[in-house]
């Protein structure tokens, strides 16, 4: 049985989780040019939630996640992945052709591959967190 709640773990989790999440977003955004990307970032974020799960248990983590069920995250990820393939149709190009736009003010390069990568991120995050959470949930209920 996984026991939650040593002081060191709790404190570390509380401090590390936001950092890990921030880091995962960083990895996600720079992924196209430097090591990183949706899959890795998703795993890092899932690691963050798993750490929190170990420290505080399932119900506390659910509170952190608020309304979002990890299973919904999977759906959101797939949806984003599907959405990102559509714009090419309207440009009269073959399915899945990447589209690039530059957002002027912050000089940020937005693209369909980025949307796609965010989809991967959510799908991975949702899958792993969902599985770990369910495992722990089942664990908790058992005698």
């Amino acid at each position: 049985m996984v026991k939650s709640g040593t002081i060191i773990l709790n404190t570390a989790a509380r401090l590390l989780m936001p950092l890990q999440l921030l880091f995962s977003v960083f990895l996600l955004l720079r992924g196209h040019d430097e090591p990183g990307g949706g899959f890795i970032a998703g795993l890092v974020a899932a690691g963050a939630f798993t750490l929190y799960l170990f420290a505080f248990g399932v119900s506390a983590t659910k509170e952190v996640l608020r309304m979002v069920d990890p299973r919904d995250l999977i759906g959101i990820g797939l949806l984003l992945g599907m959405i990102s393939v559509v714009p090419a149709w309207f440009m009269g190009q073959p399915f899945l052709t990447a589209q690039w736009w530059t957002i002027p003010v912050i000089d940020f390069k937005a693209s369909t591959p980025l949307i796609f990568d965010i989809g991967v991120y959510f799908a991975v995050l949702g899958s792993v967190t969902g599985m770990v959470m369910t495992l722990m949930e089942v664990d908790k209920d058992e005698p």
């Binding site: 430097e34 090591p35 990447a98 796609f116 899958s127 969902g130 664990d139 058992e142």
Partner: protein, 783 residues
């Protein structure tokens, strides 16, 4: 047009929202969509009739020959108009029929999605797109048959319909692929305009058989006809739309579409005319067994589908005219009759025609519609059905082969059909009033508009076949079916000929049969024991066989022991890899070994980890040492400058250890369960696997058959894909389709794990499933 069709799916998805906004009027709002499409199609009609066809190009995946291009010619225009016009009628009708049904939003989702899929099916130019839409119609049909999902019969019928049509769909896919290979094109327009004769091609016979299997199952041809009457478990609007006017004609459409390229051979003529005629007779014969009005109509639909197939088989110019005319006539009267059946069911509370009677005074409009539509079914002048039937008999008389058989079958079938028509038109409305479960009264306006429109259509087209360019439309359709320019002139009066005499005789005999229907039915019920051994019994026993087989092989292979799964998988892999590397090719070692000291250290660490994991008696120790191996692999990735892979490996390894630790707590105490012999066997299998993989890697390292694609990717990553991280560019750009597929695999696996954990809650074996699926989920992404 493509956009309009794709938007239809969005419309279907947003139908719950529309229900919140429009309430009961949603059906009317949704009906605007097919009505608009019909108007658009009508606007294109003059050009199509003028030029023969219209190609709306739209690329999808050009590298695979997949396109969303739409081909609009006479045939698809006729089908497209049928689908949209009938669709509008049915939507309006369904608004009345299911007015207070709590799930009407779900019904609209499936119905609109079906309509769009069917439209895509008849308009598609690409073979792949055609297949996708074909399967979509099967799936939406399944959802609609099983609409009353609380009813076990409805579920069973829905499953049966799905199995039969999807099994046929598989055959169809094989047929389409063969067609694509044989004609070297994936576009129908190109295939149809090709010079080369596919009939001479070596693949002609297997291709035709596969395509026919697909078409026959979809269009309920004998011996696959049994699913259609069962599909009547669907709400009546669905029966009217899918199972008489549109979906079941998809198979017919495919045959008609390919007729110019594939038709006319002895095989085509033989199979199509005999199967068609048999279906026609079977449908008509089985119809008069039933007193359930929907079953009566369903069997008479089978009869009509058989007729259409037979006409395509006959293949003369006359038969082509008869085909398009009969097709239009049938959709008009059968749609109206089904809607009348729905009204009767809705208002009286019974589907049994023998329970109804004397309803004419209570429901005068319905009675009128039923009479017109049924007379068209019977082929009584001056209705449109008469022209269709006249042409059908005429083409049967002019058939090249099997003439006597076809004439006999057609004659008997038309007598039986006439009896059915009289039963539907007269039995519920005339004679003595019966007591019915509900107090009958006239249907609301929304339920009368659709059938009335269709009945009026039957009447007007019969009186004036040239009305609204119908003649030109049918000419254009017949031209696309036959592949040669044709001139169709329809009229009610062709002079006194054999066909007319046959019609008159069959009318008389049919009426007599109707009069003596009750006693005929009593006599026919004596046949019941024989009927039980029909094709449906064959289907049942086949399904039972499949279930038994899968139970047997599940017990054998999936017995719940992880070690057995791994053993089976490894032995299979060893056999396959060993076969190809050792027997078919010989391993080659032609590389220079240049080993550094630190590499030896890492490899040594991995070997130590592996050894420790297999020998230790502590579970935690084993997990940790497996982790050591994983981290060493990550180290190797870093040494060979693949930071992305290394990060991924590290993260996956970490999560795997976490999952394993979670699972460890639920395992029983460590004990030696296997005998030493079993352990030796496991050791041998593991060693063989390791050696084989090693050989494989060394061989792969030695042979460079192709230029590595990595150079292309490295060179083009920044200029083409605007990214310097090649791994990421491959994942999200070059190979995005693969990644998309992997995302779905991952999601499915995760959902499966979550579901299994929740389902098997409390059992001890649930840890295993989580672990094994984790392994499969991470693999495809890295690969």
């Amino acid at each position: 047009m493509q956009l309009a069709v794709l938007m239809g799916f969005l419309l279907a998805a947003s139908s719950p929202l529309l229900h919140r906004w429009f309430g009961h009027r949603t059906s009317l709002v949704l009906a605007l969509f097919p009505a608009g499409l019909a108007a658009w199609l009508l606007l294109q009609a003059p050009e199509i009739i003028e030029n023969g066809s219209l190609l709306l190009e739209w690329q999808w995946v050009p590298s695979l020959g997949i396109s969303l291009t739409f081909l609009l010619d006479g045939l698809s225009l006729l089908f497209g108009l049928l689908i949209t016009v009938m669709g509008a009628c049915v939507l309006v009708y369904a608004g009345g029929y299911l007015k207070d049904h709590p799930d009407i939003a779900r019904f609209h989702i499936a119905l609109v999605a079906f309509m769009v899929s069917m439209l895509g099916l008849v308009l598609a130019d690409g073979l792949f797109t055609l297949f996708i839409f074909w399967e979509l119609t099967s799936i939406t049909s399944y959802l609609l048959i099983g609409f009353n999902h609380a009813d076990i019969e409805a579920r069973k019928s829905a499953r049966q319909g799905l199995f039969v049509t999807v099994a046929g769909g598989l055959a169809l896919m094989a047929g389409l692929v063969l067609l694509g290979i044989a004609s070297d094109s994936w576009s129908l327009a190109e295939i149809l305009s090709q010079e080369a004769d596919l009939r001479e091609h070596a693949l002609y016979t297997p291709m035709l058989i596969c395509l026919l299997l697909g078409a026959f199952t979809k269009s309920a041809q004998f011996p696959f006809h049994f699913w259609l009457p069962n599909a009547m478990a669907a709400p009546t609007p669905v029966s009217a739309y899918l199972h008489s006017a549109t979906m079941v004609k998809a198979g017919i459409y495919l045959l008609a579409r390919l007729h110019p390229e594939l038709g006319g051979t002895a095989m085509w003529v033989g199979i199509l005319s005999v199967v068609g005629a048999t279906t026609m007779l079977t449908g008509a014969f089985l119809a008069i067994h039933h007193t359930n009005i929907k079953k009566l109509l369903a069997y008479s639909t089978i009869m009509a589908l058989g007729t259409l197939t037979m006409l395509l088989g006959i293949g003369t110019e006359y038969a082509m005219t008869a085909f398009v005319t009969f097709l239009l006539a049938h959709s008009l009267y059968k749609g109206a009759l089904f809607m009348v059946a729905g009204i009767l069911d809705h208002e009286t509370g019974t589907k049994d025609v023998t329970q109804m009677g004397g309803l004419r005074s209570l429901m005068p409009v319905t009675a009128m519609i039923a009479l017109v539509a049924a007379l068209s079914l019977a082929g009584v002048p001056p209705l449109f059905g008469f022209i269709g039937k006249e042409l059908m008999l005429e083409s049967v008389l002019g058939a090249g082969s099997f003439r006597m058989l076809l004439v006999l079958f057609a004659f008997v079938a038309s007598i039986l059909t006439i009896a059915v028509a009289f039963i539907i038109a007269l039995r519920p409305f005339y004679g003595k009033r019966h007591h019915t479960p509900l107090e009958p009264h006239e249907a609301p306006l929304s339920m009368l508009v659709g059938p009335a429109l269709l009945a009026v259509g039957s009447l007007l087209l019969g009186l004036m076949p040239a009305l609204l360019g119908a003649n030109a439309l049918l000419t254009s359709a017949a031209t696309s079916v036959s592949g040669e320019t044709m001139e169709v002139t329809l009229s009610l009066w062709y002079g006194i000929n054999v066909a007319l005499i046959m019609s008159i005789i069959s009318l008389g005999v049919g009426f007599l049969l109707f009069k003596r229907w009750d006693s005929v039915r009593a006599k026919l019920s004596l046949l019941a024991p024989i009927m039980r051994h029909g094709p449906e019994a064959g289907y049942e026993s086949m399904m039972n066989g499949i279930v038994q087989f899968s139970e047997w092989q599940t017990r054998l292979l999936q017995n719940g022991y992880m070690r057995n799964y791994i053993l089976v998988m490894l032995i299979t892999l060893i056999a396959l890899i060993g076969n190809s590397i050792l027997l078919r090719h010989s391993p080659i070692f032609a590389f220079d070994l240049d080993v550094r000291f630190h590499e030896v250290v890492v490899a040594g660490t991995m070997a130590m980890g592996a050894l420790f994991a297999t020998t230790t008696r502590s579970r935690l120790g084993a997990v940790v040492s497996v982790g050591v191996m994983g981290f060493s692999i990550a180290l190797i990735f870093i040494l060979f400058s693949a930071p992305d892979l290394a990060i991924t490996q590290l993260l996956v390894e970490t999560l795997t250890v976490i999952l394993l630790v979670l699972v460890l707590f639920r395992l029983p105490r460590f004990s030696n369960l296997s005998t030493s012999l079993e352990r030796i066997r496991d050791g041998v299998v593991a060693a063989m696997m390791g050696i084989l993989i090693c050989l494989l890697i060394m061989t792969a390292w030695s042979i460079q058959q192709f230029e590595p694609i990595s150079t292309y990717m490295i060179e083009n990553s920044a200029p083409l894909a605007y990214g310097r991280n090649i791994v990421n560019v491959i994942l999200v750009d070059y190979r995005a389709l693969d990644t998309l597929g992997e995302m779905f695999v991952l999601a499915l696996a995760a959902i499966g794990v979550i579901a299994m954990l929740k389902l098997r809650h409390g059992e001890n074996s649930n840890g295993k499933s989580g672990e094994s699926s984790k392994v499969t989920t991470k693999e495809p992404y890295d690969g």
